[in-house]
């Protein structure tokens, strides 16, 4: 009850202070604008994605007739789709490529990122809600909270408040909550507007993600508000409280994420492109060469297939042996890709896990992780997209190789062509974004760290101010 009174009073202050009211309205305006612009950009990008994807599918379906293996070389392209929550937090999307070629013999890498298409503009990304929610609103909370206790002390009001029977802890917690709720209010507004704008596309998964996003930010706002109130109570000087928190903001949001991320990449190094490609090429060369019938391993396979069909020569085979060789070649290649790309993904996962540990000294890292993670735009989701495309590629190429082998042609007949019906029957790539339940475990640690920091802040507020001077 008492705490509620204090919170109400703080909000009175906010409502009656023209400057703060102006700033609040300004912020709400900017937040709405970011939501609107973010949403618009996501829609524009989705539109472009849809047009490109349809165009590519049409090209594929318009193939009148083509040799299946030529079609494997003709291949197709997959574009990285936008996630609904990209409008809130774009994550790694502008850095990663957008176009992935799907073809035989090789697992390609995604290329043509948005960032590579122009000169540098913003080091902190686009004007997305995440930019304001992660960088600017915390600063606003610091400015709102840094005088909260010192101001009361200075005017002697703290004594009056305590004389009325309020406990110091109640005052500290109430002040923290009032500031934190201000941030949560802005966050809530942002998310509500986003949900309203996308009401037709919202499903339970998106709602769950949004709720967790909301929770992570709320924890972070509590931590920042609490620490600022703590400093305001402990420091003898209001400027010191402000400068301490500004220092923390700089170190947490600008300095440490950069330093930690760079360090993590040193601790778990990734191979250079040249080394990666050379190693794969070397391993790949140990398999059979689908395009070289003289290859020793092709000969062994030939004997095996001839035996299977009870034939003496390839010409007697009722099937096209070339297709079988091509698929065998693919299967071997797939093992090589699995190993090398698997190692790459392992190193990336290790980097992520180590980076997550950074949340122990910097809750902003945990916030950033959960924000882009729950928004579905972190590296984990990106890797999942790549894996799905690769899985599709394997099915796609196998379909073509099987058609080549068992579609009616004979060995050596490269002029044989499959018809349009076949090409139309080859399924298009469909991306199924990972569901929340499958990715949640990756962020549990970040949430625990945010909780840990929240708890630490609460302990600081309760016990760290025991010896605080009231006078």
């Amino acid at each position: 009850m008492m705490m509620w009174q204090i919170i109400k009073n703080e909000w009175h202050f906010l409502a009656r202070n023209r400057v703060l009211l102006g700033i609040s309205f300004g912020f709400v305006g900017i937040l709405f604008l970011t939501v609107y612009l973010g949403n618009l950009q996501t829609q524009e990008q989705a539109q472009r994605y849809q047009t490109a994807q349809t165009h590519l599918r049409q090209q594929w379906e318009n193939i009148e007739e083509m040799n299946p293996h030529s079609a494997a070389h003709y291949g197709t392209y997959v574009f990285k789709p936008t996630c609904l929550l990209s409008g809130l937090d774009e994550g790694v999307n502008s850095i990663t490529g957008n176009v992935l070629r799907v073809e035989g013999h090789v697992q390609n890498e995604i290329v043509h990122s948005e960032a590579s298409q122009m000169q540098a503009i913003s080091k902190f990304g686009k004007l997305k809600s995440a930019l304001l929610l992660q960088y600017i609103i915390p600063l606003l909370l610091i400015f709102l909270a840094f005088q909260s206790i010192y101001g009361e002390k200075q005017g002697g009001r703290l004594k009056l408040l305590l004389l009325q029977g309020t406990h110091l802890t109640q005052i500290l917690v109430a002040k923290t909550l009032s500031v934190c709720l201000y941030g949560i209010g802005l966050l809530g507004l942002t998310i509500s507007v986003y949900v309203l704008l996308n009401l037709n596309s919202i499903n339970t998964d998106i709602l769950g993600r949004t709720a967790l996003l909301f929770l992570s930010y709320s924890f972070y706002y509590f931590i920042l508000s609490g620490l600022t109130v703590f400093f305001s109570a402990r420091w003898e000087n209001t400027n010191l409280a402000l400068t301490s928190m500004l220092g923390i903001w700089i170190v947490w949001t600008i300095f440490l994420p950069n330093v930690l991320m760079s360090s993590v990449e040193r601790w778990h190094p990734l191979p250079s492109r040249e080394a990666f490609k050379t190693a794969m090429k070397e391993d790949r060369s140990k398999g059979l060469d689908g395009h070289n019938p003289a290859d020793k391993r092709s000969k062994a396979l030939e004997e095996k297939v001839l035996k299977e069909y009870g034939a003496d020569s390839l010409a007697q085979l009722p099937i096209n042996f070339d297709g079988i060789v091509m698929q065998e070649d693919e299967e071997y290649g797939n093992k090589v890709w699995d190993e090398h790309f698997g190692n790459l993904r392992k190193a990336l996962a290790e980097q992520k896990q180590t980076y997550q540990l950074g949340g122990l000294i910097n809750p902003f890292i945990s916030l950033q992780n959960t924000s882009m993670g729950f928004a579905g735009n972190d590296n984990l989701h990106h890797q999942e997209f790549l894996v799905q495309v690769e899985n599709y590629r394997r099915v796609f190429i196998k379909t073509l190789n099987d058609k080549h082998a068992y579609g009616g042609s004979r060995t050596g007949d490269w002029s044989w062509k499959a018809g349009n019906d076949f090409f139309r029957s080859v399924a298009d790539f469909e991306y199924s974004p990972p569901v929340l339940s499958s990715v949640f475990s990756h962020y549990v640690f970040d949430i625990i760290l945010l909780l840990f920091w929240g708890l630490l802040t609460a302990i600081l507020l309760i016990f760290g101010t025991k010896k605080m001077s009231i006078l």
Binding site: E44, E109, E114, A120, S122, Y135, I254
Partner: protein
């Protein structure tokens, strides 16, 4: 004289404020870390280039030894290859084009991590090939950005300046002795300028020292470029920009809190809000190009192959009129093969045509960004620093242009030598390896 005294006296104010001293020390530490990050990337890229050069050298030596010197020009296990033909000789000449890192990369990593810096040049290559992809990196790190020197200069230096200046004049007002100062000094502006001047000069000296330290890491001063001088100049202008903004805030401000709020607000506006808004607006105006024009070359290529030989030949002749007078043109037994091999030339033209709208799209984007520089100074300085370090978009665009020119050159050489029935020997093969833009 009085102003000089004020200027010098500020040292005492500074040194007795542990918070300000700490801010400078942290800035130095972050900058040194950033400089080392830049230097490391420079050295890594240099080492990578060297490694590839060595590999290429080995590959070429192997071909010379096993095929040209032994006369084994058509390998038994790969009978379709003939090293004596310009087509295969050029294919295996392993011509690479590198974007050698500039020692000035120590100052700004810029967009170096968004592009590849080595590319194999063949008559089938294009500057948009997948093998020109960026180095393998964690996208989350790229998104967070590497802490390089330009980052500390662009984003931390204004904050350090803020910390150094935030209480000038307002502390005196809050403590109630501003009238005393005004009585002693008739010009408030000169008094404030002298005090601010001290911090601006102090920070500039620190930056100059750091630039010098960076220069030592990659031996910039030993080179012929003007990177050190240019960085010094633009750092100075950048510092003046922030100093002027902060000066007016301090001149009008009456409280520490008010000044801090305004200075932080202006910092956020210029470093976060304006660049992010420009970025967002640009993305809405022109979303990421999905390169469908380039992809369409695939179908155009199919159409090209399905054309009658006469049309195909006519197109080739138009591109290379010298073909008509070549010996192969007159020899019908060799003509078809030469035509097939020359298809790369027509495909190269198709690719170039498809790249044009993509390049135009990029030009429009970049023109839009440049057009915002007058109100978006941080992006301007960021790109200036990148340009000095040769890690700017334009540097990579020039690199792509060079690649295209080299591909054109390869195509020309392959087509003309094929039609002129040139037999490639070890000497010719060595010549092919020394490709340059013609």
């Amino acid at each position: 004289m009085k102003n000089v005294t004020l200027f010098l006296y500020e040292w005492k104010h500074f040194i007795r404020n542990p918070f300000k001293v700490m801010a400078i020390l942290l800035f130095i530490m972050a900058s040194v870390y950033g400089l080392h990050n830049g230097a490391d990337l420079y050295h890594e890229q240099k080492a990578e280039v060297k490694k590839i050069e060595q590999r290429i050298k080995g590959d070429r030596q192997k071909i010379i030894k096993e095929h040209y010197q032994k006369g084994n020009l058509v390998p038994e296990n790969r009978p379709w290859i003939d090293y004596s033909t310009p087509f295969w000789a050029l294919w295996y000449a392993s011509v690479y084009h590198f974007k050698n890192p500039s020692p000035a990369m120590v100052y700004s990593i810029g967009q170096a991590e968004q592009y590849g810096f080595y590319k194999r040049i063949t008559f089938r290559a294009s500057p948009y090939d997948a093998d020109l992809a960026q180095e393998i990196a964690n996208p989350e790190r790229l998104q967070t950005g590497t802490l390089d020197f330009s980052f500390t200069l662009l984003f931390l230096a204004p904050l350090v300046l803020l910390v150094l200046l935030y209480n000038l004049k307002s502390a005196e007002i809050e403590q109630g002795f501003m009238p005393l100062i005004e009585v002693q000094n008739p010009s408030k502006i000169t008094w404030l300028l002298s005090r601010m001047g001290f911090y601006a000069v102090l920070l500039f000296l620190v930056i100059a020292g750091l630039l010098f330290y960076g220069a030592m890491l990659t031996r910039i001063l030993a080179g012929t470029g003007n990177a050190f001088r240019d960085m010094l100049l633009y750092s100075f202008i950048y510092l003046v920009f922030w100093s002027v903004l902060f000066f007016f805030i301090l001149l009008k401000g009456k409280s520490i809190l008010g000044n801090t709020l305004q200075m932080t607000g202006i910092y956020l506006l210029f470093t976060f809000i304006i660049p992010a808004t420009v970025h967002q607006l640009l993305s809405i105006r022109q979303p990421a190009n999905l390169m469908t024009d380039l992809i369409d070359v695939r179908d155009q290529q199919e159409e090209l192959y399905s054309q009658p030989d006469s049309v195909f030949q006519a197109q080739l002749n138009e591109l290379f009129p010298a073909i008509v007078s070549s010996p192969v043109y007159k020899d019908s037994s060799k003509r078809k093969l030469a035509m097939n091999r020359s298809a790369s030339a027509l495909i190269n033209e198709l690719k170039k045509a498809s790249i044009q709208p993509i390049e135009k799209d990029k030009q429009v984007k970049n023109a839009f960004v440049r057009g915002t520089f007058w109100f978006n100074p941080i992006s301007f300085f960021q790109n200036r620093f990148n340009a000095i370090a040769h890690t700017h978009y334009d540097d990579y665009q020039s690199y792509r242009d060079e690649i295209q020119a080299l591909v054109d050159s390869q195509v020309r050489k392959m087509v003309l030598d094929t039609w002129h029935d040139v037999k490639v020997d070890q000497e010719k093969f060595s010549k092919y390896q020394k490709m340059s833009v013609e």
